[in-house]
Symmetry: C2
Subunit: 328 residues, 2 copies
């Protein structure tokens, strides 16, 4: 099924059920007020949502309305956890190579993961509001999962059972703040402002055969200022599957319902597939010619991130947003 969160002036928004074709929707009336509440009691709530979803797709929805991503918040407008992996190790290797830094071999078998801020997620069509272009504004197109409760020490063969939903992410990054921040040793902080999410989150069954081995085997399309700049396949060159990322996350602690776990910037070794973040393009330029050519994002720039099924239909709806200047 497909779920989204409607702007209603509240912090958590209103849970809605969206038809498979993303054309119509209805409020999850009498089932759950918010997505977090549904996740908190998923085994009880999900069958009821599923039932309403079947009716909606059959044209027998209740008080249906046209679905419009502009009216959506992030599916979880705030979450208790956002942990982002870096599963496309190719991307990490390229970025490092560009600055003549060797990549430890361990990166191929021990996932990189950072803890991100999750208190203030951005809606799919809402602006990315930042105070300075000097920060080196970049998008990062990713796939993510939302989990139920996961026990500490979960084994990889059991981790997939805890995946409730999938969605897309724009993990906005401030490239020029990263080097100094990582040099301090405590990881990303100011360099990772609020992330944006696709309008719709879907259960794994919606992906059909494209959901296999804990990976999504479809291209992720990034369109920057109207130009398609990347369409790498998210199932290719993903060194750590989502179950592996969950196992990494839960080595020393539980993950509670509503934890959002990202794949990291999707990247294929085949550079003809383009890029999912400007930093990777710049890294390739560095390697080829000694210096980057492509500038980072400017105020007014747009970014669209979308995944289509094999029939060309949008699965999650599109993240489609502008970068705008924060007036201080």
């Amino acid at each position: 099924m497909k779920l989204a969160t409607l702007k209603d002036g509240s912090r958590d928004g209103q849970l809605i059920i969206v038809s498979r074709d993303l054309k119509t929707a209805q409020i999850a009336d009498g089932i759950a007020p918010s997505l977090q509440r549904a996740l908190d009691d998923w085994n009880f709530i999900a069958p009821q949502l599923e039932q309403a979803y079947l009716q909606l797709n059959a044209g027998r929805g209740t008080n249906t309305f046209d679905f419009d991503a502009k009216n959506c918040m992030a599916p979880l407008p705030r979450a208790y956890q956002w942990a982002d992996g870096s599963s496309y190790v190719n991307h990490v290797e390229l970025v490092r190579k560009a600055r003549n830094a060797e990549m430890p071999d361990s990166f191929w078998h021990d996932p990189l993961m950072y803890q991100g801020g999750s208190d203030d997620f951005i809606g799919p069509n809402d602006d990315i509001v930042l105070a300075s272009e000097e920060w080196g504004i970049d998008f990062e197109s990713e796939v993510a999962v939302i989990t139920g409760d996961v026990p500490a020490g979960v084994k990889v063969q059991h981790a997939a059972e805890h995946i409730r939903l999938l969605l897309l992410v724009n993990d906005v990054s401030l490239r020029n703040l990263i080097p100094a921040e990582l040099a301090k040793g405590f990881g990303f902080f100011q360099s990772k402002p609020a992330s944006s999410f696709s309008p719709v989150a879907v259960t794994p069954d919606e992906l059909g055969e494209a959901w296999k081995d804990g990976k999504v085997h479809l291209p992720l399309r990034s369109t920057w200022n109207g130009t398609l700049v990347g369409q790498p396949n998210a199932g290719v060159d993903m060194v750590f599957s989502f179950p592996q990322l969950i196992t990494h996350l839960c080595k020393t602690r539980k993950a509670r319902a509503g934890s959002v776990i990202g794949s990291g910037t999707v990247s294929n070794k085949d550079s003809a597939k383009g890029y999912s973040c400007i930093a990777e393009k710049r890294a390739l330029e560095m390697i080829a010619g000694g210096e980057p050519q492509t500038p980072f994002m400017k105020f007014g720039d747009t970014i669209k991130i979308e995944m289509l099924d094999k029939n060309g239909k949008s699965i999650f709806g599109a993240i489609e947003q502008s970068v705008t200047e924060h007036e201080t």
Copy 2:
């Protein structure tokens, strides 16, 4: 006023109002079901809680009961943000000196802060459950604030206005996992399992004159296996005040209501004040004798963290917990 969260089988628990002397309590009946809900609408809810608190202290509470920290969850059993500073730079310098690493001068004027997991906080008397002593289990005694909504780019002179509550934290750390994790460059992750919090969170006015310049000017007492091992003053040698930490957090993004921001391990230059984490004790031993003497925590160890006012009364109640083995 003083607030706590009662275990009631739900994920967010039941908000209660606790008397100043921590002896009696009453449910925040008809006011707010949970602390997060109170924080979501603080300007409307807080005066009602305050009114009930005044009545409770005057012996005119409604359906009061004996307050018992054992029945408490963390004040926020799960939060949308946990960001931990490292304000006692003396501590950072010592730990670095012990491993012959120089500390950049920038650490004295640019705060260190990491994003921690916030989906699963531990109650004040609940066990710290971990799978292995080999991880190097350590406590870290800290003070923290809980904020309301803070705008991006907040100036330091306005940051204090957004502090709603203060409380104590045990930022449990797995020392033997830290070096390899930090070497990867993405900060702490597996080395920082769930944190524990004091039973009670208090508004700044409860601290009286001890709350000054955005710091808490009282000793923080850490008692490990029944021995008082540290009582550094949290107002001394705190290089970055809470308003400064909030300003750092909000440089590139907002912080939303219920964000928890930690001070970092409290540490005084005067080593006679003892230590708030074993790592610091071991660092001093390294510097003095070339190797650490004090082992990290074992299963069965206890840790008590408490702050007393100048009359010797507990302000927040005590974090008092055991380390136990996770059966896998």
